[in-house]
Amino acid sequence: MPRGPRQLDGHRVADALDQALPGIVMLGTDEWVEVEPGRLGEALRWLHGSAEFDAAQLSNMCGVDLHDHFTLVYHLQSLDQNHQIVVKAQIWDHETPSLPSAYPVYRGALLQEREVYDLMGINFEGHPDMRRLFLWDGFPGHPLRKDFMGIGDGLTSGLRRFPFEDNANPDRLINRDNVTTPSESQDAPRNWTGGAPA
């Protein structure tokens, strides 16, 4: 996959990061640098302060659920030097995933981390206000996880369309035998605690 037009070579970032903070880099590729999850805050702080990389702004962050682990992707950018750095961290604890917060370095992480916590269930240590953002307290599960549709009391998607000309990858087609009918899912009690959000 080609890099973005202003994206730095991940190898270059990885080399510099490894030299400054030995052992922190897990992997450097053409596109991104992957750091040790426990030391993510350290890596971000170094990139933020470094004169060479000058990662002044956290432009975007999001999580990806890869079934047995999560990958957190941080897009940092320098406004002075006009380049973009992609930092990743993998979390292998799928039940209670946790990661250091980027908030002490980037205040722009405040709402983005709450969004990731809400929709993907990743806890950010050191975040001042770790609450759900969109959904209400007591909502069952975290919807952007890939196993969300399978959890008990989970919600069915209500969408059973998929391009039927696509037979190349039958695993992705929804198995219609196991889909609960709408009436069943409506009758089942939902286990949230309060009616309205606080």
Binding site: M1, P2, G4, P5, R6, E31, A56, Q57, L58, S59, N60, C62, V64, D65, V73, H75, L79, N82, Q84, V86, Y106, R107, G108, A109, L110, L111, Q112, E115, L119, L133, F134, L135, W136, P143, L144, F148, S157, L159, R161, F162, P163, E165, D166, A168, N169, R172, P197, A198
Partner: protein
Amino acid sequence: MTTASEPYVLNIGPQHPSTHGVFRIRVVMDGEQIQDLDMIVGYLHRSMEKLAEERTYTQNIPFTDRADYLAAMSGNLGLCLAVERLANVEVPERASYLRVIFAELQRIASHAMANGTLVSDAGAWQTPLLYMFREREKILDLFEMTCGARLTTNYMRIGGVAFEPPPEFWPALRELVDELPQRIDEYAQMVQENEIFIARTRNVGIISPEDAINGSLVGPALRGSGVPWDLRKAEPYCVYDRMDFEVPVGTVGDVYDRYMVRLEETRQSTRIIRQAMDAIPDGPHKTDIPLALRPDPGEVYARVEGPRGEAGYYLVSDGSPAPYRFHMRAPSLINLSLLREMARGAALSDAVVTLGSLDIVVGEIDR
């Protein structure tokens, strides 16, 4: 005589004209001063990112209309650019020019709405808003004659745009572009020298450049603080590198600067549209792509400068026709990162104007 005061909680919204949508704030007040603020969002959450994982890339384009519903064209464009880079799709030149024209028309329409509602918040009840809607209306007419929709346009396609504009589009656009500079001057005269407006907006809601960068602010909110950052210049997409335009920035970083940045940007957008109209080449308006486009496994983060700033799309492909992960970077949400800090110690009426100057669209916050 002294009177005791004690803090109380005031609830604003979700249905309130100055929150610009279903956006709710709980403020802890001491007299008229805000002590603390808590924003509650999610009333418009439609789980777009989850739904997108079961649809093809083309089927996902309508979601981008409904995320930032005041800037549907920019949202369309961001997603299409992301998928095109992911799947290596070439875009015909005419399509790139059409995209620029529509994205800039959308910027004018969106800024007219933003500035109109801001002036409304500052006390000029509805009159300037309706003046600004006059040109927005004409822009929406142009959208309607091209793609049949006014707000949820769903016009851009992967590899181009959906339709060629009809023949009557071009004279109407020419007429609009010719009268726009005069109309924009009219708005400027009407509002920016108004004493009440100046009193309500100057030195209110100041964001320093350092805070703006650290707080991930983008778009007019960042440029209002004096940071000359515009993706159309920094990372030119489509044919913006061939266009001659300027990036207005503020000096103080207050509400007034953000208002003026938006106003000036509409002038610059008019310039861009005129250049694009004159330079647009003939040719096809789209390339044909497979109905179920299967990009190679990989990931991409593409971004455009929407009216509210960097609208980014992070897509992960696993080689199937639907994205494995579909993430929208919502500038409206992320621009609110500093809201709590900014509101503390401010008067409630100032906080309302500050919120208006950040120009949030709740559809994009909640997605």
